[in-house]
């Protein structure tokens, strides 16, 4: 029973470890706590059932009952008995939660918040897996099968993140599975006897058996291969981890959020208050055709969480774009003119975002499937599964233009407004900013006037200028540094204005998108990474989000200004004075396109696009060619090594000339040794050895057995009696080779003056002729001798490593605390 209990606990623990990949989906860790409770109750129920010696079906029933109790306690409907006993109302509540989870899954993007339906389905899933794992492991003793339900958990994040899944949770899950297998195996061995090492010592429960070392190594290797294999860059395969690792730099302050990081074609949606734009290449990202005469910016992202370093993106929620989208024309407000246009967008393969650029506000889309969702509040189109690469779609949209008068009529937001509640007016406490804002909005009556005061503040009159790089400061706050240095690019202007407006108590956020750019062909605008832009949006009660672009217009090609937010730097006759906003009515209703004339400057890249964006689609074939070449090279390595070896040995063993050595027998004349060795004896020895080594390698190559216990003479005799028999020349040659090696090894004086190289060639030729075609081919392409030697080297190295680590582990085990816990009697 103890064993069963142990194994049941291991099964529960392994299930929780296997649930680790879910951490990539949830924003918080609540799911883990609740799942742990559910799994714990299931394990407890299983242990109890087994303690009562319940049959297998009884155990399963017990676990299911435990899971139900846990779910009831965690997700009560309010009518439970004693808070844990479910009533019919509870199950009705459960089915409601299930329905809600389907809805939430569709509407939330990763990472999802802790909504009860999502938590419910998670706890239910993990609990069910715990039941199955326990059943398979303890009940049926088939722990290997338990990997399947565990894999089911892992498949959840895989389905959500199409590109890449973080490897660490996978490793944790795999470790859980391996733990389960190991525990089961230890249990199995202990059932019939003792665990012992090869040298007869018993192995404690807490100790890893040295006999299972090979299995452990295989397990580690398997996990490592599974993690590392996707790292290998394969041309044409996207989402390779290496790509995103290597391009993580240069994209400003990366938020590191999945899908929004600095991968190629991905735009870092983070409005940083400091940074540097580093755009060396230009790539076409979007081609948009619209029937609107002079469209405002193309939008795709929103950052609405303010941190002290800038605005950050939060997770959008939404509904499929295939349904009807809210039409702003229904909320008709005086002074706001709304016109409907249509546009077609073609995204190139260089823009790879889970977001689609649209003009705000879209009301109907075409050519998009239901995996694309629309966030009403943020007015963005996003997806949790797809990305924008190569998408082409069209949509109808409503363009709103606001008259200053209408904006001025907007009232202050009530304190219970959802936007205020969602902290869209919250700013980090920076006294200098508060002071500045208080000074700017002093005496301004309406919300619009306050916003204009702040907007106008970012003018060249106040010393603000455009620069692709912010300057450092000493205040410790990026916002103060920017407001002091007064240089930066669109991100800083958008974020700073958003901050200031928020500080004035008005909701604001940063929008990301494209300006209209400078490349216009009829109604079609081709937008590049240099047209990426960020601007501020301010919320006015009853009207909605109104864009303000505080960035100096000269830095932004295609910059568009409007009547409610005119260019503060433009030397136009408008009575735009900082601190003295235009109070007069502007007769112009249409958004004034005060596009900068300095389009040739073309410097504003607006937002940093992940580097490595090629200017044009690089052809793929060089990759394939290089890859094939590399593969060929790798395959040819053994053959090349063999050739090099042969050449080296051949150079060493020329057909040694001269050397007139009388065949030295036993004691020549009267005990005088008169050995005349012509060539250098050492050289002759080395030559003989080289030739012999080459012969042995040749034997291995041609699959002729080589025996380590054989002397050269015996080897020669064996070959002469076997493969070489019948080839007189080869027989003589072989005899010569054997004699030369024998003399080189054992005699006082080596054999000299014999042409060894031709002899070797003769033997080699006969061996090759005797070998089959397949053997010959292998000998030429993948010489077994080289492979064998390499294998041996690897085996030696690994053997040494195992010895070293074994010693280290043995030393470490002395400090293992489990040693104290283990009851030795249980062995």
């Amino acid at each position: 029973m103890t064993r069963h209990r142990n194994l049941g606990l291991v099964a529960a623990g392994a299930t929780l470890l296997a649930a680790a990949p879910l951490s990539a989906i949830f924003e918080h860790w609540t799911w883990l706590i609740e799942s742990a409770i559910a799994v714990g109750v299931v394990a407890g129920a299983a242990a109890l059932a087994r303690a009562l010696r319940a049959p297998l079906w009884g155990q399963v029933l017990g676990m299911l009952a435990g899971l139900t109790l846990a779910l009831t306690w965690l997700f009560p409907a309010g009518s439970e008995i004693l808070a844990v006993l479910p009533t019919p109302a509870t199950f009705a509540h459960f089915s409601e939660l299930l329905g809600g989870s389907v809805r939430d899954m569709r509407s939330y993007g990763v990472e999802v918040p802790d909504t009860p339906p999502l938590l419910f389905i998670t706890v239910l899933g993990v609990g069910a897996v715990a039941v199955v794992v326990d059943l398979l492991t303890v009940g049926l003793r088939r722990p290997a099968l338990a990997g399947l339900p565990m894999l089911a958990i892992y498949s959840v994040p895989v389905a959500v993140y199409v590109d890449n899944v973080p490897p660490v949770p996978f490793v944790i899950g795999a470790v859980g599975y391996l733990w389960l297998l190991g525990a089961d195996n230890v249990d199995r061995v202990r059932r019939f006897g003792r665990r012992f090492t090869g040298d007869g010592r018993d192995v404690d429960v807490w100790e890893a058996s040295p006999l299972a070392a090979a299995g452990r190594r295989l397990a580690v290797l398997g996990v490592a291969v599974a993690v590392l294999l996707p790292l290998v860059p394969v041309p044409g395969m996207n989402g390779s981890l290496l790509d995103s690792l290597s391009s993580g730099n240069g994209s400003g302050n990366g938020t590191g959020r999945p899908g929004q990081g600095g991968a190629p074609g991905k735009i870092d949606l983070f409005a940083a208050l400091s940074g540097q734009l580093n755009e060396s290449e230009v790539a076409d990202l979007v081609k948009v055709t619209t029937n609107e005469p002079s469209p405002f910016y193309l939008r795709f992202g929103v950052a609405d969480e303010l941190k002290s370093s800038g605005f950050e993106v939060t997770n959008p929620t939404g509904r499929p774009v295939t349904r009807d989208l809210p039409n702003p024309t229904v909320r008709d407000v005086g002074g706001v003119e709304r016109r409907q246009y249509e546009a077609t967008v073609e995204v190139t393969r260089d823009l790879d975002m889970p977001l689609l650029p649209v003009y705000s506000e879209p009301i109907r889309t075409e050519d998009l499937n239901s995996s694309w969702l629309y966030d009403d509040d943020r007015q963005i189109v996003f997806s949790n599964r797809e990305n924008s690469r190569g998408k082409r779609y069209s949509f109808d949209y409503v363009r709103s233009t606001y008259s200053p008068a209408a904006l001025r009529a907007a009232r202050k937001l009530p304190a219970d407004h959802p936007l205020v509640r969602r902290q869209q007016t919250k700013t980090p406490p920076v006294p200098q900013v508060t002071e500045l804002v208080n000074r700017l909005v002093q005496g301004k009556a309406t919300e619009y006037d306050k916003v204009r005061a702040i907007y106008d503040y970012f003018s060249s009159d106040n010393g603000f200028s455009y620069q692709l790089r912010t300057e450092g400061g000493t205040s410790g706050e990026d916002i103060v540094d920017f407001l002091t240095n007064k240089v930066g690019f669109c991100q800083q202007y958008a974020a700073a204005m958003g901050w200031l407006v928020r500080a004035a108590g008005i909701p604001a956020r940063v929008a990301f998108g494209f300006t209209s750019g400078s490349n216009r062909n009829g109604n079609t605008y081709t937008l590049t990474n240099r047209n990426l832009h960020a601007w501020t949006e301010v919320y006015f009660d009853g009207i909605g989000w109104v864009p303000f672009d505080a960035t100096p217009a000269y830095g932004v090609p295609g910059s568009t200004r409007s009547t409610w937010a005119p260019d503060t730097d433009a030397p136009d006759p408008l009575p735009d004075q900082p601190g003295a906003p235009n109070t007069g009515t502007d007769p112009e209703e249409s958004p004034g396109a005060v596009g900068s004339e300095r389009e040739d400057q073309d410097t504003d890249a607006g937002l940093a696009l992940g580097e490595e964006t090629p200017t044009e689609q690089a052809p793929v074939w060089p990759w394939w060619a290089a890859g094939s070449l590399l593969l060929l090279l790798v395959l040819a390595l053994p053959a090349l090594r063999r050739l090099a070896l042969r050449r080296r040995r051949g150079r060493r063993a020329p057909a040694a000339v001269a050397a007139t050595e009388p065949d030295v027998g036993v004691g020549p004349a009267a005990g005088r040794r008169m050995v005349v060795v012509g060539a250098d004896a050492d050289q002759a020895r080395a030559d003989a050895h080289a030739v012999w080594d080459e012969l042995l390698d040749t034997l291995v190559d041609y699959r002729v057995p080589v025996d380590r216990t054989e002397t050269p003479r015996a080897t020669a005799d064996r070959l002469i009696g076997g493969v070489l028999s019948g080839h007189a020349e080869s027989v003589d040659a072989m005899r010569l080779l054997g004699r030369a090696e024998e003399r080189a090894r054992y005699a006082r004086d080596p054999l000299t003056g014999e042409p060894l190289a031709p002899a070797l060639r003769a033997v080699r030729g006969t061996l090759a002729a005797a070998a089959g075609r397949r053997t010959r081919l292998l000998a030429a392409v993948l010489p077994p001798s080289v492979l064998q030697r390499w294998r041996l080297t690897v085996a030696d190295a690994s053997g040494r490593m195992v010895a070293v680590t074994g010693q280290a582990r043995h030393r470490l085990l002395r400090w293992n605390p489990r040693r104290l816990l283990a009851d030795r009697a249980a062995r």
């Binding site: 027998g665 036993v666 004349a669 216990t709 024998e742 054992y746 041996l792």
Partner: protein, 350 residues
């Protein structure tokens, strides 16, 4: 009696003279023992290696004939001892008797005072008598009544024994067996040789017509020449490996002694010289392993139960033991690094 001490061997023989002398002895013996060239050469090699020979085989295959033929081929003093159960040690070594004329004790040399001593049926004598040979075989001297007498050079004991009969025999003690350099078996002659034997031996004993073809002085020179044969370090290492393997083999209770190593190399030198080489090959050691080592070792009870003879065990070891290669590690060595010189039975340490 002018005694020549052991180290006073003659000068070296030139190659062709060596060859002629040794071939003459072999050819002479082969007049008596047909079709046993290898055995005969081995017997001669033992003589040249300054060792002693134990010929062990079933009765009637020519053990005694070989011993006598070898002794007769060399013109030197030959004594024969018929080992019987009532033989006394003093019959072997000699005894001091009182000479009434000189009123003094006088040493009467025993049978071992000869160049070649043929001990027939050695296992029929009691261990007491067998032990009399211990000193003379190893130290080539006899000590009687506190006086040590040197034996002549060459000195060789050729003993025969019958392995089949158990009744009334005393197996040689280990110490005694270890003193024999080699144990050889005659084996049955093949059909042709047996036919020739019938023809030749039918009327007369060819042993009677055998004339010596060599003398003690020549043998001494032969021995001196054999001593000069070169033994490479690798070969020495191989000999040590081989002997170590017998000590570590799980099948063996007693392995070969250091004396065995020494005698193995000596015999290998002699074999190499007989083959016309001035260097020893591992092949020589391999060929000699069974004759030189097998009679010294004792198998375990398990191996005996499994009916594994010592010959089989030694020959098995030879087939397993890799050649030492001091140049570098062989790429075909599948054992972990640093395994060179380690016996094949070294227990694996985890």
């Amino acid at each position: 009696m002018t005694q020549q001490t052991w180290d006073e061997v003659g000068g070296l023989l030139p190659h062709d003279e060596f060859r002629a002398a040794s071939e003459a002895i072999v050819a002479n013996i082969e007049q008596v023992i047909e079709g046993k060239t290898a055995t005969v050469r081995l017997a001669l090699a033992v003589l040249l290696a300054e060792g002693h020979l134990l010929i062990e085989d079933v009765p009637g295959v020519g053990k005694t004939k070989l011993a006598k033929a070898l002794a007769r081929s060399i013109d030197c003093s030959v004594r024969r001892i018929q080992f019987t159960p009532d033989l006394l040690p003093s019959d072997v070594t000699g005894v001091s008797v009182y000479n009434q004329e000189t009123h003094d004790f006088e040493f009467r040399p025993g049978a071992v005072f000869a160049n070649l001593v043929v001990g027939d049926e050695i296992n029929r004598a009691s261990p007491k008598t067998q032990s009399a040979l211990l000193e003379c075989m190893e130290e080539r001297q006899v000590t009687v009544d506190g006086v040590t007498y040197q034996l002549q050079t060459p000195f060789m004991v050729i003993a025969t024994q019958n392995p089949i009969e158990m009744e009334g025999t005393y197996p040689l003690p280990e110490a005694q067996r270890d003193r024999f350099t080699a144990r050889i078996a005659m084996g049955y002659p093949d059909v042709g040789a047996e036919l020739a034997m019938l023809d030749g031996h039918g009327a007369t004993d060819p042993l009677d017509q055998l004339r010596p073809v060599s003398d003690a002085a020549t043998v001494r020179r032969l021995i001196a020449t054999v001593r000069q044969v070169h033994v490479a370090d690798a070969v020495k290492q191989y000999a040590i490996d081989l002997v170590t393997a017998t000590r570590e083999a799980p099948d063996l209770r007693l392995g070969a002694s250091p004396r065995a190593t020494l005698q193995l190399l000596r015999t290998a030198r002699a074999v190499a010289a007989l083959e016309g080489r001035d260097y020893v090959l591992p092949d020589d050691l391999q060929a000699l392993a069974v004759p030189v080592l097998a009679h010294r070792i004792i198998p375990t009870a398990d191996a005996q139960l499994a009916r594994r003879t010592t010959d089989a065990i030694v020959s098995d070891l030879v087939h397993r033991l890799p050649l030492p290669n001091d140049r570098k590690r062989s790429p075909y060595d599948t054992r972990p690094a640093g395994g060179n010189g380690r016996g094949p039975y070294e227990p694996r340490r985890p």
